[in-house]
Symmetry: C2
Subunit: 229 residues, 2 copies
Protein backbone atom coordinates (compact mmCIF):
# COMPACT_ATOMS: atom_id res chain seq x y z
CA UNK A 1 0.00 0.00 0.00
CA UNK A 2 1.25 3.44 -0.88
CA UNK A 3 -0.06 5.36 2.12
CA UNK A 4 -1.70 7.72 -0.37
CA UNK A 5 -5.37 6.80 -0.42
CA UNK A 6 -7.37 6.16 -3.55
CA UNK A 7 -10.88 7.61 -3.50
CA UNK A 8 -13.45 4.92 -4.31
CA UNK A 9 -17.00 5.93 -5.21
CA UNK A 10 -19.14 3.37 -3.40
CA UNK A 11 -22.85 3.53 -4.10
CA UNK A 12 -23.36 0.27 -2.28
CA UNK A 13 -24.24 -1.63 -5.45
CA UNK A 14 -22.57 -4.77 -6.77
CA UNK A 15 -20.34 -2.94 -9.23
CA UNK A 16 -18.92 -0.51 -6.69
CA UNK A 17 -18.44 -3.38 -4.23
CA UNK A 18 -16.29 -5.26 -6.75
CA UNK A 19 -14.50 -2.04 -7.73
CA UNK A 20 -13.58 -1.50 -4.07
CA UNK A 21 -12.12 -5.01 -3.94
CA UNK A 22 -10.03 -4.25 -7.04
CA UNK A 23 -8.83 -0.92 -5.58
CA UNK A 24 -7.93 -2.62 -2.30
CA UNK A 25 -5.36 -4.77 -4.10
CA UNK A 26 -2.97 -1.82 -4.53
CA UNK A 27 -4.22 1.12 -2.49
CA UNK A 28 -5.23 2.42 0.86
CA UNK A 29 -8.90 3.29 0.55
CA UNK A 30 -11.00 6.42 1.04
CA UNK A 31 -14.68 5.59 0.50
CA UNK A 32 -17.05 8.23 -0.86
CA UNK A 33 -20.82 7.82 -0.95
CA UNK A 34 -23.01 10.36 -2.69
CA UNK A 35 -26.76 10.15 -2.27
CA UNK A 36 -28.97 12.40 -4.33
CA UNK A 37 -32.55 11.80 -3.33
CA UNK A 38 -32.84 8.51 -5.20
CA UNK A 39 -35.64 6.21 -4.03
CA UNK A 40 -33.43 3.72 -2.28
CA UNK A 41 -30.94 6.12 -0.72
CA UNK A 42 -31.21 4.91 2.86
CA UNK A 43 -30.76 1.28 1.80
CA UNK A 44 -27.74 2.19 -0.35
CA UNK A 45 -26.23 4.14 2.52
CA UNK A 46 -26.53 1.07 4.75
CA UNK A 47 -24.80 -1.00 2.08
CA UNK A 48 -22.02 1.61 1.81
CA UNK A 49 -21.33 1.52 5.56
CA UNK A 50 -21.40 -2.28 5.65
CA UNK A 51 -18.96 -2.55 2.73
CA UNK A 52 -16.70 0.09 4.33
CA UNK A 53 -16.74 -1.89 7.58
CA UNK A 54 -15.86 -5.05 5.65
CA UNK A 55 -12.78 -3.40 4.16
CA UNK A 56 -11.87 -1.66 7.45
CA UNK A 57 -12.03 1.77 5.79
CA UNK A 58 -11.52 4.64 8.21
CA UNK A 59 -11.54 7.48 5.65
CA UNK A 60 -15.17 7.61 4.64
CA UNK A 61 -17.33 10.50 3.53
CA UNK A 62 -21.06 10.30 2.86
CA UNK A 63 -22.64 13.42 1.36
CA UNK A 64 -26.09 14.25 0.09
CA UNK A 65 -26.65 16.25 -3.06
CA UNK A 66 -29.97 18.04 -2.99
CA UNK A 67 -29.76 19.44 -6.50
CA UNK A 68 -30.47 16.31 -8.54
CA UNK A 69 -33.80 15.59 -6.85
CA UNK A 70 -34.79 19.26 -7.32
CA UNK A 71 -33.89 19.02 -11.01
CA UNK A 72 -35.60 15.66 -11.60
CA UNK A 73 -35.86 14.22 -15.10
CA UNK A 74 -35.33 10.63 -13.91
CA UNK A 75 -37.56 7.93 -12.42
CA UNK A 76 -34.90 7.47 -9.72
CA UNK A 77 -35.35 10.99 -8.35
CA UNK A 78 -38.90 11.92 -9.40
CA UNK A 79 -41.58 9.90 -7.62
CA UNK A 80 -44.13 10.83 -10.30
CA UNK A 81 -42.17 8.77 -12.86
CA UNK A 82 -42.60 5.03 -12.18
CA UNK A 83 -39.59 2.72 -12.30
CA UNK A 84 -40.24 0.53 -15.35
CA UNK A 85 -39.70 -3.20 -15.47
CA UNK A 86 -36.62 -4.27 -17.36
CA UNK A 87 -37.04 -4.64 -21.13
CA UNK A 88 -33.91 -6.08 -22.72
CA UNK A 89 -35.10 -5.06 -26.19
CA UNK A 90 -35.40 -1.39 -25.30
CA UNK A 91 -32.86 0.95 -26.89
CA UNK A 92 -31.83 4.52 -26.15
CA UNK A 93 -31.21 6.26 -22.84
CA UNK A 94 -33.49 4.78 -20.15
CA UNK A 95 -35.77 6.88 -17.91
CA UNK A 96 -33.62 5.87 -14.93
CA UNK A 97 -30.80 8.03 -16.34
CA UNK A 98 -30.15 10.86 -13.87
CA UNK A 99 -28.96 13.76 -16.04
CA UNK A 100 -25.17 14.11 -15.85
CA UNK A 101 -25.11 12.41 -12.44
CA UNK A 102 -21.66 10.91 -12.70
CA UNK A 103 -20.14 14.37 -13.13
CA UNK A 104 -21.48 15.34 -9.70
CA UNK A 105 -20.03 12.14 -8.24
CA UNK A 106 -16.64 12.61 -9.87
CA UNK A 107 -16.54 16.32 -8.94
CA UNK A 108 -17.04 15.37 -5.29
CA UNK A 109 -14.40 12.65 -5.52
CA UNK A 110 -11.87 15.02 -7.08
CA UNK A 111 -12.51 17.81 -4.54
CA UNK A 112 -11.99 15.34 -1.70
CA UNK A 113 -9.07 13.69 -3.46
CA UNK A 114 -7.35 17.06 -3.94
CA UNK A 115 -7.53 17.69 -0.17
CA UNK A 116 -6.41 14.12 0.65
CA UNK A 117 -3.58 14.14 -1.90
CA UNK A 118 -5.07 11.16 -3.74
CA UNK A 119 -3.81 10.17 -7.17
CA UNK A 120 -6.59 7.77 -8.17
CA UNK A 121 -10.38 7.89 -8.29
CA UNK A 122 -12.13 4.52 -8.72
CA UNK A 123 -15.66 4.28 -10.08
CA UNK A 124 -17.55 1.09 -10.91
CA UNK A 125 -19.08 2.24 -14.18
CA UNK A 126 -19.94 -0.41 -16.77
CA UNK A 127 -20.28 0.51 -20.43
CA UNK A 128 -21.19 -2.76 -22.07
CA UNK A 129 -23.87 -5.25 -21.10
CA UNK A 130 -25.38 -2.50 -19.05
CA UNK A 131 -27.44 0.60 -18.68
CA UNK A 132 -27.08 2.75 -21.78
CA UNK A 133 -26.26 5.81 -19.67
CA UNK A 134 -24.11 8.30 -21.60
CA UNK A 135 -22.02 9.11 -18.52
CA UNK A 136 -20.94 5.47 -18.13
CA UNK A 137 -18.89 5.32 -21.33
CA UNK A 138 -15.12 5.21 -21.41
CA UNK A 139 -15.05 8.26 -23.72
CA UNK A 140 -16.77 10.21 -20.97
CA UNK A 141 -14.21 9.21 -18.32
CA UNK A 142 -11.31 9.97 -20.65
CA UNK A 143 -12.73 13.44 -21.27
CA UNK A 144 -13.18 13.91 -17.54
CA UNK A 145 -9.49 13.21 -16.88
CA UNK A 146 -8.66 16.19 -19.10
CA UNK A 147 -10.95 18.35 -16.94
CA UNK A 148 -9.12 17.18 -13.82
CA UNK A 149 -5.77 18.04 -15.38
CA UNK A 150 -6.95 21.50 -16.37
CA UNK A 151 -9.03 22.32 -13.30
CA UNK A 152 -6.97 21.27 -10.25
CA UNK A 153 -3.80 22.61 -8.60
CA UNK A 154 -0.49 21.90 -10.30
CA UNK A 155 0.55 18.39 -9.30
CA UNK A 156 -2.93 17.41 -8.06
CA UNK A 157 -4.12 15.64 -11.20
CA UNK A 158 -5.82 12.33 -10.52
CA UNK A 159 -6.48 9.43 -12.84
CA UNK A 160 -9.97 7.99 -13.12
CA UNK A 161 -9.90 4.19 -12.86
CA UNK A 162 -12.83 2.22 -14.22
CA UNK A 163 -11.73 -1.41 -13.78
CA UNK A 164 -15.14 -2.87 -14.76
CA UNK A 165 -15.92 -0.62 -17.72
CA UNK A 166 -15.63 -3.30 -20.41
CA UNK A 167 -16.76 -6.29 -18.35
CA UNK A 168 -19.98 -8.24 -18.76
CA UNK A 169 -22.08 -8.52 -15.62
CA UNK A 170 -21.20 -12.20 -15.29
CA UNK A 171 -17.50 -11.31 -15.37
CA UNK A 172 -18.08 -8.78 -12.61
CA UNK A 173 -19.73 -11.44 -10.46
CA UNK A 174 -16.83 -13.82 -11.05
CA UNK A 175 -14.22 -11.14 -10.38
CA UNK A 176 -16.00 -10.26 -7.17
CA UNK A 177 -16.08 -13.87 -6.05
CA UNK A 178 -12.38 -14.32 -6.93
CA UNK A 179 -11.46 -11.28 -4.82
CA UNK A 180 -13.75 -12.17 -1.93
CA UNK A 181 -15.81 -8.99 -2.42
CA UNK A 182 -18.74 -8.89 0.06
CA UNK A 183 -21.48 -9.15 -2.56
CA UNK A 184 -23.95 -10.19 0.15
CA UNK A 185 -23.64 -6.68 1.62
CA UNK A 186 -24.32 -4.85 -1.66
CA UNK A 187 -27.65 -3.46 -2.89
CA UNK A 188 -28.59 -2.78 -6.49
CA UNK A 189 -32.39 -2.51 -6.70
CA UNK A 190 -33.75 0.83 -7.94
CA UNK A 191 -37.03 0.75 -6.06
CA UNK A 192 -37.16 -1.49 -3.00
CA UNK A 193 -35.27 -1.46 0.28
CA UNK A 194 -36.13 -4.69 2.09
CA UNK A 195 -36.27 -7.29 -0.64
CA UNK A 196 -34.95 -6.40 -4.09
CA UNK A 197 -37.80 -6.14 -6.60
CA UNK A 198 -36.20 -8.48 -9.12
CA UNK A 199 -37.90 -6.61 -11.97
CA UNK A 200 -36.19 -3.23 -12.51
CA UNK A 201 -33.31 -2.72 -14.94
CA UNK A 202 -30.75 -2.89 -12.18
CA UNK A 203 -32.12 -6.12 -10.68
CA UNK A 204 -32.42 -7.60 -14.16
CA UNK A 205 -28.76 -6.91 -14.98
CA UNK A 206 -27.57 -8.16 -11.61
CA UNK A 207 -29.59 -11.37 -11.77
CA UNK A 208 -28.50 -11.98 -15.36
CA UNK A 209 -24.88 -11.62 -14.22
CA UNK A 210 -25.29 -14.15 -11.41
CA UNK A 211 -27.25 -16.49 -13.66
CA UNK A 212 -24.60 -16.44 -16.39
CA UNK A 213 -21.89 -16.90 -13.77
CA UNK A 214 -23.79 -19.96 -12.50
CA UNK A 215 -23.99 -18.60 -8.95
CA UNK A 216 -26.97 -17.73 -6.76
CA UNK A 217 -27.22 -14.06 -5.76
CA UNK A 218 -27.01 -13.98 -1.93
CA UNK A 219 -29.37 -10.99 -1.41
CA UNK A 220 -33.15 -11.40 -0.85
CA UNK A 221 -35.59 -10.94 -3.74
CA UNK A 222 -39.32 -10.38 -3.69
CA UNK A 223 -39.57 -12.29 -6.97
CA UNK A 224 -37.86 -15.63 -7.22
CA UNK A 225 -34.53 -15.04 -8.97
CA UNK A 226 -34.32 -18.63 -10.10
CA UNK A 227 -37.15 -18.06 -12.59
CA UNK A 228 -36.00 -17.74 -16.21
CA UNK A 229 -34.95 -14.12 -16.95
Amino acid sequence: MSGVPAVVLVSGGMDSCVTAAVAALDHDLAFLHVSYGQRTESRERRAFEAIADHFGVRLRLAVRLGALARIGGSCLTDESLPVPEADPGRTGVPISYVPFRNTHLLATAVSWGEVLGAKRIFIGAVEEDSSGYPDCRSAYFEAFERVIEAGTRPGAAMKVKTPLIHMRKSEIVRRGLDLGAPLHLSWSCYQAEEEACGACDSCYLRLKGFSEAGVRDPIPYRLDPSRPA
Copy 2:
Protein backbone atom coordinates in the same frame (compact mmCIF):
# COMPACT_ATOMS: atom_id res chain seq x y z
CA MET B 1 -35.13 35.50 -27.84
CA SER B 2 -35.13 31.87 -28.80
CA GLY B 3 -37.61 30.55 -26.23
CA VAL B 4 -34.94 28.03 -25.25
CA PRO B 5 -33.43 29.31 -22.02
CA ALA B 6 -29.73 29.68 -21.38
CA VAL B 7 -28.63 28.61 -17.91
CA VAL B 8 -26.64 31.39 -16.22
CA LEU B 9 -24.59 30.63 -13.12
CA VAL B 10 -25.22 33.63 -10.88
CA SER B 11 -23.22 33.75 -7.67
CA GLY B 12 -24.37 37.30 -7.06
CA GLY B 13 -20.92 38.80 -7.65
CA MET B 14 -20.00 41.48 -10.14
CA ASP B 15 -18.74 39.09 -12.78
CA SER B 16 -21.86 36.94 -12.83
CA CYS B 17 -24.02 40.08 -12.82
CA VAL B 18 -22.31 41.33 -16.00
CA THR B 19 -22.40 37.84 -17.51
CA ALA B 20 -26.17 37.76 -16.97
CA ALA B 21 -26.47 41.08 -18.80
CA VAL B 22 -24.48 39.64 -21.72
CA ALA B 23 -26.60 36.48 -21.80
CA ALA B 24 -29.79 38.56 -21.72
CA LEU B 25 -28.86 40.12 -25.07
CA ASP B 26 -29.64 36.91 -26.97
CA HIS B 27 -31.37 34.46 -24.67
CA ASP B 28 -34.22 33.78 -22.34
CA LEU B 29 -32.66 33.27 -18.94
CA ALA B 30 -32.65 30.48 -16.36
CA PHE B 31 -30.70 31.58 -13.28
CA LEU B 32 -28.83 29.03 -11.18
CA HIS B 33 -27.29 29.81 -7.80
CA VAL B 34 -25.13 27.27 -6.00
CA SER B 35 -24.11 27.93 -2.43
CA TYR B 36 -21.61 25.63 -0.78
CA GLY B 37 -21.14 26.74 2.80
CA GLN B 38 -18.97 29.72 1.90
CA ARG B 39 -18.78 32.44 4.56
CA THR B 40 -20.98 34.92 2.75
CA GLU B 41 -23.57 32.54 1.38
CA SER B 42 -26.66 34.30 2.72
CA ARG B 43 -25.48 37.67 1.37
CA GLU B 44 -24.71 36.14 -2.03
CA ARG B 45 -28.11 34.48 -2.11
CA ARG B 46 -29.76 37.86 -1.50
CA ALA B 47 -27.73 39.35 -4.36
CA PHE B 48 -28.78 36.45 -6.62
CA GLU B 49 -32.47 37.02 -5.94
CA ALA B 50 -32.15 40.78 -6.42
CA ILE B 51 -30.34 40.37 -9.74
CA ALA B 52 -32.91 37.77 -10.86
CA ASP B 53 -35.71 40.21 -9.96
CA HIS B 54 -33.92 42.93 -11.94
CA PHE B 55 -33.86 40.78 -15.07
CA GLY B 56 -37.40 39.47 -14.49
CA VAL B 57 -36.17 35.87 -14.41
CA ARG B 58 -38.87 33.36 -13.60
CA LEU B 59 -36.81 30.18 -14.06
CA ARG B 60 -34.54 30.26 -11.06
CA LEU B 61 -33.00 27.49 -9.01
CA ALA B 62 -30.97 27.96 -5.84
CA VAL B 63 -29.32 24.85 -4.45
CA ARG B 64 -26.95 24.17 -1.60
CA LEU B 65 -24.03 21.79 -1.91
CA GLY B 66 -23.06 20.38 1.45
CA ALA B 67 -20.04 18.46 0.22
CA LEU B 68 -17.57 21.30 -0.31
CA ALA B 69 -17.81 22.61 3.25
CA ARG B 70 -17.40 19.04 4.55
CA ILE B 71 -14.32 18.62 2.38
CA GLY B 72 -12.79 22.01 3.25
CA GLY B 73 -9.32 22.93 2.03
CA SER B 74 -10.23 26.58 1.41
CA CYS B 75 -10.51 29.68 3.57
CA LEU B 76 -13.94 30.27 2.04
CA THR B 77 -15.40 27.07 3.45
CA ASP B 78 -13.20 26.36 6.50
CA GLU B 79 -13.64 28.88 9.32
CA SER B 80 -10.31 27.82 10.84
CA LEU B 81 -8.47 29.25 7.82
CA PRO B 82 -8.55 33.09 7.90
CA VAL B 83 -9.33 35.05 4.73
CA PRO B 84 -6.04 36.79 3.91
CA GLU B 85 -5.77 40.40 2.81
CA ALA B 86 -5.06 40.86 -0.86
CA ASP B 87 -1.39 40.70 -1.87
CA PRO B 88 -0.96 41.54 -5.56
CA GLY B 89 2.60 40.14 -5.53
CA ARG B 90 1.48 36.69 -4.39
CA THR B 91 1.79 33.90 -6.93
CA GLY B 92 0.37 30.39 -7.10
CA VAL B 93 -3.09 29.12 -6.23
CA PRO B 94 -4.58 31.21 -3.39
CA ILE B 95 -6.00 29.71 -0.18
CA SER B 96 -9.44 30.94 -1.25
CA TYR B 97 -9.41 28.32 -4.03
CA VAL B 98 -12.22 25.84 -3.32
CA PRO B 99 -10.95 22.54 -4.76
CA PHE B 100 -12.57 21.83 -8.13
CA ARG B 101 -15.56 24.02 -7.23
CA ASN B 102 -16.46 25.08 -10.73
CA THR B 103 -16.98 21.46 -11.76
CA HIS B 104 -19.75 21.17 -9.15
CA LEU B 105 -21.31 24.38 -10.47
CA LEU B 106 -21.12 23.32 -14.10
CA ALA B 107 -22.39 19.82 -13.31
CA THR B 108 -25.47 21.34 -11.70
CA ALA B 109 -25.96 23.71 -14.62
CA VAL B 110 -25.70 20.89 -17.15
CA SER B 111 -28.09 18.60 -15.24
CA TRP B 112 -30.65 21.40 -15.08
CA GLY B 113 -29.95 22.46 -18.65
CA GLU B 114 -30.49 18.91 -19.89
CA VAL B 115 -33.97 18.86 -18.31
CA LEU B 116 -34.77 22.39 -19.58
CA GLY B 117 -33.48 21.69 -23.09
CA ALA B 118 -30.91 24.50 -22.81
CA LYS B 119 -28.13 24.82 -25.34
CA ARG B 120 -25.93 27.32 -23.49
CA ILE B 121 -24.42 27.56 -20.02
CA PHE B 122 -23.04 30.99 -19.07
CA ILE B 123 -20.43 31.39 -16.33
CA GLY B 124 -18.63 34.61 -15.37
CA ALA B 125 -15.17 33.14 -14.94
CA VAL B 126 -12.18 35.44 -15.47
CA GLU B 127 -8.78 34.02 -16.32
CA GLU B 128 -6.60 37.09 -16.56
CA ASP B 129 -6.26 39.97 -14.12
CA SER B 130 -7.88 37.72 -11.58
CA SER B 131 -7.75 34.96 -9.08
CA GLY B 132 -5.25 32.32 -10.17
CA TYR B 133 -7.82 29.54 -9.73
CA PRO B 134 -7.08 26.58 -12.02
CA ASP B 135 -10.77 26.03 -12.74
CA CYS B 136 -11.16 29.56 -14.15
CA ARG B 137 -8.97 29.02 -17.20
CA SER B 138 -10.28 28.72 -20.71
CA ALA B 139 -8.48 25.37 -21.14
CA TYR B 140 -10.59 24.04 -18.28
CA PHE B 141 -13.87 25.16 -19.86
CA GLU B 142 -12.88 23.76 -23.24
CA ALA B 143 -12.13 20.40 -21.63
CA PHE B 144 -15.47 20.55 -19.82
CA GLU B 145 -17.37 20.96 -23.10
CA ARG B 146 -15.92 17.62 -24.20
CA VAL B 147 -17.30 16.04 -21.00
CA ILE B 148 -20.75 17.47 -21.75
CA GLU B 149 -20.63 16.06 -25.28
CA ALA B 150 -19.63 12.61 -24.02
CA GLY B 151 -21.78 12.51 -20.88
CA THR B 152 -25.24 13.77 -21.85
CA ARG B 153 -28.07 12.38 -23.99
CA PRO B 154 -27.67 12.47 -27.76
CA GLY B 155 -28.61 15.98 -28.89
CA ALA B 156 -28.38 17.49 -25.40
CA ALA B 157 -24.84 18.87 -25.69
CA MET B 158 -24.50 22.41 -24.36
CA LYS B 159 -21.83 24.98 -25.02
CA VAL B 160 -20.13 26.71 -22.09
CA LYS B 161 -20.01 30.47 -22.64
CA THR B 162 -17.46 32.52 -20.72
CA PRO B 163 -17.90 36.03 -22.11
CA LEU B 164 -15.59 37.66 -19.55
CA ILE B 165 -12.80 35.10 -19.55
CA HIS B 166 -10.15 37.31 -21.18
CA MET B 167 -11.33 40.69 -19.85
CA ARG B 168 -9.55 42.84 -17.32
CA LYS B 169 -11.63 43.81 -14.30
CA SER B 170 -11.92 47.39 -15.55
CA GLU B 171 -13.31 46.12 -18.86
CA ILE B 172 -15.89 44.09 -16.96
CA VAL B 173 -16.99 47.20 -15.07
CA ARG B 174 -17.29 49.17 -18.32
CA ARG B 175 -19.14 46.36 -20.08
CA GLY B 176 -21.54 46.15 -17.14
CA LEU B 177 -22.17 49.89 -17.23
CA ASP B 178 -22.68 49.81 -21.01
CA LEU B 179 -25.27 47.05 -20.65
CA GLY B 180 -27.01 48.59 -17.66
CA ALA B 181 -26.11 45.62 -15.45
CA PRO B 182 -27.32 46.16 -11.86
CA LEU B 183 -23.85 46.31 -10.29
CA HIS B 184 -25.34 48.00 -7.21
CA LEU B 185 -27.15 44.72 -6.46
CA SER B 186 -24.06 42.51 -6.72
CA TRP B 187 -21.84 41.31 -3.86
CA SER B 188 -18.22 40.19 -4.19
CA CYS B 189 -16.66 40.29 -0.71
CA TYR B 190 -15.32 36.97 0.60
CA GLN B 191 -15.83 37.65 4.28
CA ALA B 192 -18.38 40.33 5.16
CA GLU B 193 -22.13 40.58 4.58
CA GLU B 194 -23.16 44.13 5.55
CA GLU B 195 -20.31 46.30 4.32
CA ALA B 196 -17.71 44.77 2.01
CA CYS B 197 -14.35 44.42 3.77
CA GLY B 198 -12.39 46.21 1.05
CA ALA B 199 -9.32 44.11 1.87
CA CYS B 200 -9.80 40.52 0.62
CA ASP B 201 -8.67 39.35 -2.82
CA SER B 202 -12.16 39.67 -4.24
CA CYS B 203 -12.72 43.23 -2.91
CA TYR B 204 -9.23 44.18 -4.11
CA LEU B 205 -9.89 43.00 -7.66
CA ARG B 206 -13.32 44.61 -7.77
CA LEU B 207 -12.11 47.95 -6.43
CA LYS B 208 -9.15 47.89 -8.80
CA GLY B 209 -11.57 47.36 -11.68
CA PHE B 210 -13.77 50.30 -10.69
CA SER B 211 -10.73 52.47 -10.02
CA GLU B 212 -9.19 51.74 -13.43
CA ALA B 213 -12.56 52.31 -15.07
CA GLY B 214 -12.74 55.70 -13.33
CA VAL B 215 -16.06 54.92 -11.67
CA ARG B 216 -17.06 54.69 -8.01
CA ASP B 217 -18.27 51.26 -6.87
CA PRO B 218 -21.88 51.73 -5.69
CA ILE B 219 -21.79 49.12 -2.88
CA PRO B 220 -20.87 49.99 0.75
CA TYR B 221 -17.35 49.34 2.04
CA ARG B 222 -16.03 49.20 5.58
CA LEU B 223 -12.71 50.59 4.34
CA ASP B 224 -12.79 53.66 2.16
CA PRO B 225 -12.51 52.47 -1.43
CA SER B 226 -11.21 55.84 -2.63
CA ARG B 227 -7.89 55.19 -0.82
CA PRO B 228 -5.06 54.23 -3.14
CA ALA B 229 -5.10 50.49 -3.81
